[in-house]
C-alpha cells in the first residue's frame, strides 16, 4: 500500500501505470523482503562465526565452555533430574561441588533439548557439535529478536538494519563464535527477546504479552546471571515513566503481571533460589512494584471519591512519600535483620572500580573484569560507537513510552560497559538498535525523494530506494513527520550537513548531489563496519585457545597442540581417580579434557581453597608437599611458556601469591617474591623465595640445560626474555611425569612418602 501512495506522491510523475506490473500485493512483497533480509542476517550471523571451525575443527573453546560442555554431556547421559541433583565429586576435591544447584542450567538444557529432539528425529548429531554450533544459531535468533525490538521502537526498516548490525557486531561475536559454548551465547538472545516482549506489553497493556515477557525472563534467569540487569532495568523504566507522568493502565498491567509471574518463575531456578526475594539486587523491582500499586491505588481513590485536583495533590503528597519511607525502612530493617542479603562484592565493584582490586583479588585477577580503555569500545563497536548517540537523540526527540526504555537501556549499559570490559557485551545490542535507528533515519531522509520537481526519473528511483530502505506501512507516516520537521536541520549531530546544505533544506530538501554524497558516505561507513567486523571476528575472536598455531618460516601453519597432548596423557595414563592440582584457570579444562579430579576450578566459589593451592604453588617444595599431601594430590600441572614465548603460570604467579597472602598473610608475602627494587624477576635478579617456589621449580626443571637456538644461551626464557636465575633444580618429593612437546604443559607426579625417611646425611658413625 505504501508503494502506491509513494507512487502517487510523485504527482505529475509518469509512474502511474508502471506499478501494475508488480502484480502481487505489495504487502506480500514487503514481508517476503523482510523475511529474506532476516534470513540472510541469520545466515551471515551463523557463517561469520565459523572461522574457528573451518580453520581448526569443531572444538569447544577456552575454559568455561569446557565445563558447560561437560555438564551438558552429563545432562544428556543421565537425564534432567540427575543433572539437577548432580554432585560433582571430581571438582574441588575434597569438597566437591553441587553442580545442579550452582549452575544456570538454561544453556545446558537448551543444548540437551536440541540434541534430544534431533536424535528423536534420528538426526544423529553428536552433543559436541550441538554445543559448538549453539551460539552461532542463537546469534541468528538474537538478530531476529533485535529486529522485533527495533521495530517496536522505531520502524521495520530500522529493525532490519539493526538485525544486520547485531549479526556481525564484534561486541557480540566475541562471545558467540562457534565453540564458545557459554551462557552469554543464549543469554543475549533471551535479553533482547525479553526487552522486546516488555516493550510490546507496555505498548499493548495485554496480559498475554506480559506473560510472554515473564516466560522469556524466566529463560534468561535460567541462562545467565545477567538477568539482574533486566530485573533492575525494567523497574527503572517503570519508575521513570511514573516520574514523567506517563503512568497508564497499560503500564500497570504490564509491570504487575511481569513482576509477579517473573518472580514466581525465577524462584524455580535452583541456583537463583530465594535470591529474588532475599537479596538487595532484587529489591528495586519489589519497591517499584509496591510503588506502582500505591500509585494506582491513589488514582483509584481519586476516581472513586471524585477528588478535586487540589485534594488529590494533597493526598498524593501524603501517601507517596509515606509509602517510600515505609518501604525504605522495611528494607533497611530486613537487611539488618539478616532476611535480605546485602549487596555482593561483585555488585560493589560495579560502582567502585577500585573495590575489587582492594578486597577481592580473585575477581580483579580476571582480565575481563577490569575497566576497559577506549580501544575495546572502538574495537568491538567500531562506527556504531559514533552513530548510536545520534540514534539516542532521535529517540529522545520523539519520545514515547518505549523510547524511554531504550534510552535507559543505552545509558545504563554504557555505564556498565565502561566499568567492566566484559559488559561491552550487553552494550552491543542497544548500540546496534540505536545505530540502526540513526542510519535508517538518515537514509530515509536522504535516499527517499519526495520532491516532485525532480520529475519522472527521481520518482522512479525513489520507488526503488524506498523499497530498499523502508519497510512496513508505518514508515510512510513516520517519514512525513521527519519531512515536517526537516527545517530543524540540527537533528543529525556529528557528521551533520554543512550550512549551505541546511539552506538548501530550508528551500525544500537537499539537492540530488548532496543526497548522493550523504548516502554514499553512510554506505561507505557501513561497508567499513562490515569489513572491520569480519577482520576482528577472524583475527581476534576465532581462536579456540586450546590449540595454538604459529607460522613457520615458509608460511606454513604449525599447530601447537600441547594442551590437548598433556590433558589426553592425563586422561589415558593416570589412575581414574587421580587428583590433579593446577591453578584454577585450568580446572575446567582438566575436568573436561583430562577427565580427572581437580582441586580448584574456574567456578571460583571457595576463595580459601584457591588460596591454599596458591600457597602450595608459592611455597618451597617441602612446605608445598605438606599441603599437597593434605589435599591428596597425585599430580601437579603447570603451564610454562618459556619455550614458545607464551603467557604462563609464571606470568600470573603474583596473583597466586596475592590470593594466597589474602588467606595466609603469615606464610606468603608478596614482597618476598619481589627483589629489593620491587621488581618481579626470574633471572639472576630474582629472590631466593622466588627460586624456591614450587611454580618456579616446576616450570624451570631441566630448562637450564635446554638451548633453544644457537644465538641464545641455555636456559633462555623466551616469554620473559631472560636467562633464568636458577638452573640447577632438583626435586625431592616430585618427579616429572610428563612434559608436552613444546614444554607448554608440565605435569609432575607427587611421590608417595617413603616407607622409611631416608637420611639427608650419612650417619656420623661411618665418618669417624
Amino acid at each position: 500500500m505504501t508503494q502506491r501512495k509513494r507512487d502517487l506522491g510523485g504527482g505529475g510523475g509518469g509512474g502511474g501505470g508502471g506499478l501494475r506490473g508488480w502484480g502481487a500485493p505489495p504487502s506480500g512483497w514487503l514481508s517476503l523482503l523482510s523475511f529474506a533480509i532476516l534470513l540472510l542476517a541469520w545466515l551471515v550471523a551463523f557463517s561469520s562465526r565459523l572461522f574457528a571451525v573451518i580453520r581448526f575443527e569443531s572444538i569447544i573453546h577456552e575454559f568455561d565452555p569446557w565445563f558447560n560442555y561437560r555438564a551438558t554431556r552429563y545432562l544428556t547421559e543421565n537425564g534432567f533430574y540427575h543433572f539437577l541433583n548432580w554432585f560433582d565429586e571430581r571438582a574441588w576435591y575434597p569438597l566437591g561441588r553441587i553442580v545442579g544447584g550452582t549452575v544456570f542450567p538454561g544453556l545446558m538444557v537448551t543444548a540437551g533439548l536440541i540434541h534430544h529432539v534431533l536424535n528423536a528425529l534420528h538426526v544423529t548429531v553428536h552433543i559436541r557439535d550441538v554445543c559448538v554450533f549453539l551460539a552461532p544459531v542463537f546469534s541468528g535468533l538474537t538478530s531476529v529478536a533485535t529486529f522485533l525490538l527495533t521495530r517496536e521502537l522505531w520502524n521495520q526498516s530500522a529493525g532490519l538494519l539493526a538485525a544486520c548490525l547485531i549479526a556481525i557486531a564484534p561486541g557480540y561475536t566475541q562471545r558467540s563464535v562457534a565453540g564458545s559454548y557459554d551462557n552469554e551465547g543464549v543469554a543475549i538472545f533471551a535479553l533482547q527477546l525479553t526487552y522486546f516482549l516488555w516493550v510490546r506489553s507496555v505498548k499493548t497493556g495485554s496480559v498475554f504479552w506480559s506473560v510472554c515477557c515473564s516466560l522469556s525472563y524466566f529463560y534468561m534467569v535460567s541462562a545467565w546471571g545477567g538477568y539482574v540487569f533486566i530485573v533492575n532495568l525494567v523497574p527503572l523504566h517503570v519508575l521513570v515513566l511514573l516520574l514523567m507522568g506517563r503512568h497508564s493502565g497499560r503500564l500497570y498491567v504490564a509491570y504487575s503481571v511481569f513482576y509477579v509471574v517473573g518472580l514466581v518463575l525465577s524462584l524455580q531456578v535452583p541456583f537463583v533460589g530465594f535470591q529474588p526475594v532475599r537479596s538487595s539486587e532484587h529489591m528495586a523491582a519489589a519497591g517499584v512494584f509496591a510503588l506502582l500499586q500505591a500509585y494506582a491505588f491513589v488514582h483509584y481513590l481519586r476516581d472513586r471519591l471524585g477528588l478535586t485536583p487540589r485534594e488529590f495533590l494533597a493526598l498524593f503528597l501524603l501517601c507517596v512519600p509515606l509509602a517510600a519511607v515505609a518501604g525504605t525502612a522495611a528494607l533497611v530493617l530486613l537487611t539488618y535483620g539478616g532476611y535480605i542479603a546485602p549487596w555482593s562484592g561483585r555488585f560493589y565493584s560495579l560502582w567502585d572500580t577500585g573495590y575489587a582490586a582492594v578486597h577481592i583479588p580473585l575477581i580483579a585477577s580476571v582480565a575481563e573484569h577490569q575497566t576497559p580503555t577506549w580501544w575495546p569500545f572502538f574495537f568491538n563497536l567500531h562506527v556504531l560507537l559514533c552513530t548510536f548517540p545520534a540514534g539516542l537523540w532521535f529517540c529522545l526527540k520523539d519520545i514515547n513510552d518505549e523510547r524511554v526504555f531504550v534510552a535507559l537501556y543505552a545509558v545504563s549499559a554504557a555505564y556498565f560497559a565502561a566499568v567492566m570490559s566484559r559488559l561491552i557485551l550487553t552494550l552491543t545490542p542497544v548500540v546496534c538498535v540505536l545505530s540502526a535507528v540513526a542510519f535508517s533515519n538518515v537514509f530515509e531522509r536522504y535516499l527517499a525523494d519526495e520532491n516532485p520537481r525532480n520529475g519522472n526519473n527521481a520518482a522512479i528511483t525513489e520507488n526503488k530506494d524506498s523499497k530498499r530502505s523502508s519497510g512496513g506501512g508505518r514508515s510512510g507516516k513516520l517519514r512525513k513527520q521527519h519531512v515536517a520537521s526537516s527545517s530543524e536541520a540540527g537533528e543529525r549531530p556529528g557528521r551533520g550537513p554543512t550550512e549551505a546544505q541546511e539552506k538548501e533544506e530550508e528551500e525544500g530538501g537537499p539537492g540530488i548531489h548532496l543526497r548522493a554524497a550523504v548516502c554514499l558516505t553512510m554506505l561507505f561507513l557501513l561497508a567499513l563496519f562490515a569489513v572491520h567486523c569480519t577482520t576482528v571476528t577472524s583475527t581476534a575472536y576465532s581462536h579456540p585457545s586450546v590449540v595454538l598455531t604459529t607460522r613457520g618460516s615458509r608460511g606454513d601453519i604449525d599447530v601447537i597442540d600441547d594442551y590437548r597432548e598433556a590433558y589426553y596423557w592425563l586422561r589415558q595414563n593416570t589412575a581414574e581417580r587421580a587428583r590433579v592440582m593446577a591453578w584454577w584457570d585450568y580446572g575446567y579444562q582438566i575436568a573436561g579434557m583430562a577427565d580427572r579430579t581437580t582441586i580448584v576450578d574456574n567456578n571460583t566459589w571457595n576463595n580459601s581453597h584457591i588460596a591454599l593451592v596458591g600457597k602450595a604453588m608459592a611455597s618451597n617444595e617441602s612446605a608445598a608437599y605438606g599441603i599437597m599431601r593434605s589435599l591428596d594430590v597425585d599430580y601437579v600441572l603447570v603451564i610454562f611458556g618459556g619455550v614458545l614465548g607464551q603467557g604462563d603460570d609464571i606470568s600470573k604467579f603474583l596473583w597466586m601469591v596475592r590470593i594466597a597472602e589474602g588467606e595466609h598473610p603469615g606464610d606468603v608475602r608478596e614482597r618476598d617474591y619481589l627483589n629489593a627494587r620491587g621488581e618481579y624477576r626470574v633471572d639472576a635478579g630474582g629472590t631466593r623465595t622466588m627460586f624456591d617456589s614450587l611454580v618456579y621449580k616446576m616450570c624451570y626443571h631441566r630448562f637450564g640445560e635446554l638451548q633453544l637456538s644457537a644465538r641464545q644461551p641455555a636456559g633462555f626464557d623466551r616469554a620473559r626474555g631472560a636467562v633464568i636465575g636458577e638452573k640447577d633444580i632438583s626435586f625431592k618429593h616430585l618427579e616429572e611425569a610428563f612434559t608436552s612437546e613444546h614444554w607448554l604443559v608440565r605435569i609432575y607426579r607427587v611421590k608417595k612418602p617413603d616407607n622409611r625417611e631416608p637420611l639427608e646425611n650419612r650417619l656420623r658413625v661411618h665418618e669417624d
Binding site: 506522491g9 575443527e57 597442540d561 590437548r564 579434557m593 635446554l706 618427579e735 616429572e736
Partner: protein, 604 residues
C-alpha cells in the same frame, strides 16, 4: 630305526584303541616328518614360527589328512595357524584346517586336509605358519627412560608333532645382536642376529625341551587392546568405515620420570617407545579423519599412494611402556568397489579387519556391519570362524524402522586375519525412494501448515472493528487506484493538448476531450459510489474522499481551462506570451491541487 620307534608306536596304538580315534592313529603310525626346517622369527613383538615339513607316508594306505600340534604352553597365545602345500609349481595351495583333539595329549591340534590323498611311500612338502602374540615377556618388567628393553622368549627346541621327526633344524631370528642368554642345546651357532639350532635327529612325537632366549628387542610392542570397526553401507554410493582403537604399549613399563629434555636431546632415550605408526587404508579412501574424545589429533600425516592411502598415525604423546591411548580413525569408500548386485540381490565384500600397523596384534575385535534400511535375508560368509552377536538396529538420518546391524567379535587377531568377509542380502530398490519422499513430505506438510495458518482465521473472538478496517482498507485501495487513473487521464489530456498545439488538429482535440469527459465521468461516479460505501461503513475517510473529489473537480476545470487556452492560442486569439503566462498560473494551481490530493491520499 623302525625298531627304535616301535615301542612308542605300540603305546600310541594302545592309546588310540582306548580313544577309538583309529583313523588318526593309523595315519600317525604311518606318517613321519622326514625333514623339518623351523624358523622362529622373534624380530618383532610377535613370535612367528614357520616350519617346512617333508611328510613321508610310510604306510601302505593313502592318507588324506595329517595333524599339526601346538605346545600347551604356547597354545593360549596362538593367534594364527595356517598350512600350505609347497609343490613344484609356484603357487602354494592353502590347506583347510580343522581343530581336533588327541586324547591324553595336551595342547591344540589341527587336522589338515590334504588336497589329494598321499599314497603310501609318497612324500609331500608342507609349510606350516604359526603366529603367537604376547609370548615375548619383557624382562625386567620395568625400565627407565634411558634403558633398553629386554625380552624373554620361552619355546620348544623341537618341532612339536604327533609324528616322529627324523631331522630338524631351528633358526631363531632376533631383532638385535644383543643377547643376554640363550639355551645351548646341541651347541647352537650364533651369528649376528640369529641363532641356529640343530640338526636334531629322530625326535619322538610330542617331545618338548625348553628353549629360552633373553635378548634386546626395541621394536614397538604395540597391542590393540580393543578395536571396534563400523562399516556403514549406503546405497547412495558410499561406504563409511570407522575404527575406534585402544592402543597400548605392552613392553616393559616405564619406571620413574619421563623427561622431555632427554627425549628430545638424546636419540637413544626412550628407544623402545613408540612415536607413530603407519596405517594403510584402501586406495580409494577419502575424507580420512583421525580424532579422539577431545578433538582432532593434529599430529598426523596423510600420503596418497598409487595403490593405497598411508596415514602416519601419531598419537598425541609418545607411547612408553604401559602407556595407552585411544583414537578414532574413519574414512569413506565408494561403494562400487565393494558392493555387487544382481537385481535385488546384493553382496558386500569388505575386509573384516584392516591394517592398523605392521605386525599388528588385536586382542579383541568387534565388527559392526550396518546395512541399508530394509535389507533382508542376510547371510554372512566369514573367512574364519567368528562369534556372531545378536543383530541390532541402528537409527540415523531419516531412518524410520532402523538399519540392520550385524555384530561379530573375535579375539587375538594378527595381520594374517586381514581377509575379506562377504555379506549377501536382498534389498528392494523402491526403498531407495523412501528417504527423499520423507523429506519432500516433511516440507510439504510444513508449507501446507503455513498456508493454512496464513489463510485461515484462528481467532476465537470476532473483532468487528478489524473487519471494518479491512473492508475500509480494500475500498480505499480501490479509491486510490481510481484516483490514480483519473490523474493519468489528465496527463493524457496534456499530451493531447500538446499534440494539438503542434498539429492544430481540432478534431483530435475534440475527440480527446470527449474521451476525457466520458472516462472522467465514469471514474468519478465509481469513486462516488465507493465513497458512499465508505460512508456506509461509518468511516471518516469518506469525508476525505469527498475532499479529493472536490479538489479533483477543480483540477478538471483547470485542465479544461488549459485546453481552452490552447484552442485560443491556436486560433490566434491570444498572444504566445500571454498563453505561457496563463499556462504557468494554471500549472501552478494544478500542482497545488495535485499536492493537496496527494496529501489527502497519503492520509487515507
Amino acid at each position: 630305526m623302525t625298531l627304535n620307534t616301535s615301542p612308542k608306536l605300540l603305546v600310541l596304538l594302545l592309546l588310540a584303541a582306548s580313544s577309538s580315534t583309529v583313523l588318526l592313529t593309523r595315519a600317525a603310525a604311518e606318517l613321519v616328518n622326514e625333514e623339518v626346517k623351523r624358523t622362529v622369527d622373534l624380530s618383532t613383538h610377535l613370535a612367528k614360527i614357520t616350519a617346512e615339513l617333508l611328510l613321508h607316508n610310510q604306510g601302505e594306505q593313502a592318507v588324506s589328512s595329517f595333524t599339526l600340534a601346538v605346545e600347551p604352553e604356547l597354545a593360549p597365545h596362538l593367534a594364527y595357524i595356517g598350512a600350505s602345500v609347497k609343490g613344484d609349481e609356484e603357487e602354494d595351495g592353502t590347506l583347510e584346517l580343522k581343530q581336533t583333539t588327541i586324547h591324553g595329549q595336551s595342547g591344540e591340534f589341527y587336522k589338515v586336509m590334504l588336497p589329494s590323498s598321499l599314497a603310501g611311500g609318497a612324500k609331500l612338502r608342507v609349510k606350516v605358519e604359526t603366529v603367537y602374540s604376547h609370548v615375548l615377556r619383557p624382562f625386567p618388567t620395568h625400565i627407565t627412560q634411558a634403558e633398553r628393553q629386554l625380552v624373554v622368549f620361552q619355546g620348544n627346541h623341537y618341532f612339536y608333532s604327533p609324528y616322529v621327526t627324523r631331522s630338524q633344524t631351528t633358526r631363531v631370528r632376533l631383532s638385535t645382536k644383543t643377547v643376554e642368554t640363550y639355551t645351548k642345546l646341541g651347541n647352537p651357532s650364533k651369528s649376528d642376529e640369529s641363532i641356529e639350532y640343530g640338526p636334531f635327529r629322530d625326535i619322538a612325537p610330542f617331545s618338548e625341551d625348553a628353549l629360552k632366549i633373553h635378548y634386546e628387542n626395541n621394536t614397538p610392542f604395540l597391542t590393540i587392546s580393543s578395536i571396534t570397526r563400523i562399516i556403514e553401507v549406503s546405497h547412495w554410493g558410499n561406504i563409511a568405515v570407522e575404527e575406534t582403537i585402544d592402543l597400548r604399549h605392552t613392553g616393559a613399563y616405564l619406571k620413574g620420570p619421563f623427561s622431555r629434555y632427554d627425549y628430545q636431546r638424546q636419540s637413544d632415550s626412550g628407544i623402545s617407545s613408540v612415536k607413530s605408526l603407519k596405517t594403510i587404508l584402501p586406495a580409494s579412501a577419502q575424507d580420512v579423519y583421525y580424532r579422539d574424545e577431545i578433538g582432532n589429533i593434529s599430529t598426523s600425516h596423510l600420503q596418497v599412494l598409487e595403490d593405497s592411502v598411508e596415514v602416519e598415525v601419531r598419537p598425541r604423546f609418545p607411547l612408553f611402556g604401559g602407556w595407552k591411548t585411544h583414537y578414532i580413525i574413519g574414512y569413506n569408500l565408494p561403494s562400487y568397489e565393494y558392493l555387487y548386485m544382481l537385481g535385488d540381490q546384493y553382496a558386500l565384500k569388505m575386509r573384516l579387519v584392516d591394517h592398523v600397523y605392521d605386525d599388528q596384534v588385536i586382542d579383541s575385535l568387534t565388527v559392526k556391519l550396518i546395512l541399508p534400511e530394509g535389507a533382508r535375508n542376510i547371510h554372512v560368509d566369514t573367512p574364519y570362524p567368528i562369534d556372531r552377536m545378536p543383530d541390532q538396529l541402528h537409527y540415523t538420518y531419516l531412518d524410520t524402522f532402523g538399519r540392520p546391524v550385524l555384530v561379530a567379535t573375535k579375539t587375538n587377531l594378527v595381520e594374517q586375519h586381514i581377509q575379506d568377509v562377504v555379506v549377501h542380502y536382498t534389498f528392494n530398490k523402491i526403498l531407495m525412494l523412501q528417504e527423499p519422499l520423507l523429506v519432500v513430505g516433511a516440507f510439504y506438510i510444513l508449507f501446507f501448515t503455513v498456508i493454512i495458518y496464513v489463510r485461515l482465521d484462528f481467532a476465537i473472538t470476532k473483532d468487528p472493528a478489524a473487519e471494518v478496517r479491512m473492508k475500509v482498507a480494500s475500498i480505499t485501495e480501490q479509491v486510490l487506484t481510481l484516483v490514480n487513473k483519473r490523474l493519468g487521464l489528465y496527463r493524457h489530456m496534456d499530451e493531447v493538448v500538446n499534440r494539438y498545439k503542434q498539429s492544430r488538429d481540432t478534431g483530435a482535440l475534440n475527440s480527446g476531450r470527449k474521451t476525457l469527459e466520458a472516462d472522467h465521468r465514469t471514474l468519478t461516479n465509481d469513486i462516488a459510489s465507493l465513497q458512499a460505501r465508505l460512508k456506509a461503513e461509518g468511516s471518516d475517510l469518506a469525508e476525505k474522499v469527498g475532499e479529493v473529489q472536490k479538489s479533483d473537480g477543480q483540477v478538471k476545470e483547470l485542465v479544461c481551462r488549459s485546453c481552452q487556452e490552447a484552442e485560443r492560442l491556436v486560433a490566434g486569439k491570444i498572444k504566445k506570451e500571454a498563453y505561457i503566462e496563463s499556462e504557468k498560473t494554471l500549472a501552478g494551481k494544478r500542482q497545488e491541487l495535485v499536492t493537496r490530493i496527494d496529501s489527502l491520499l497519503d492520509a487515507l
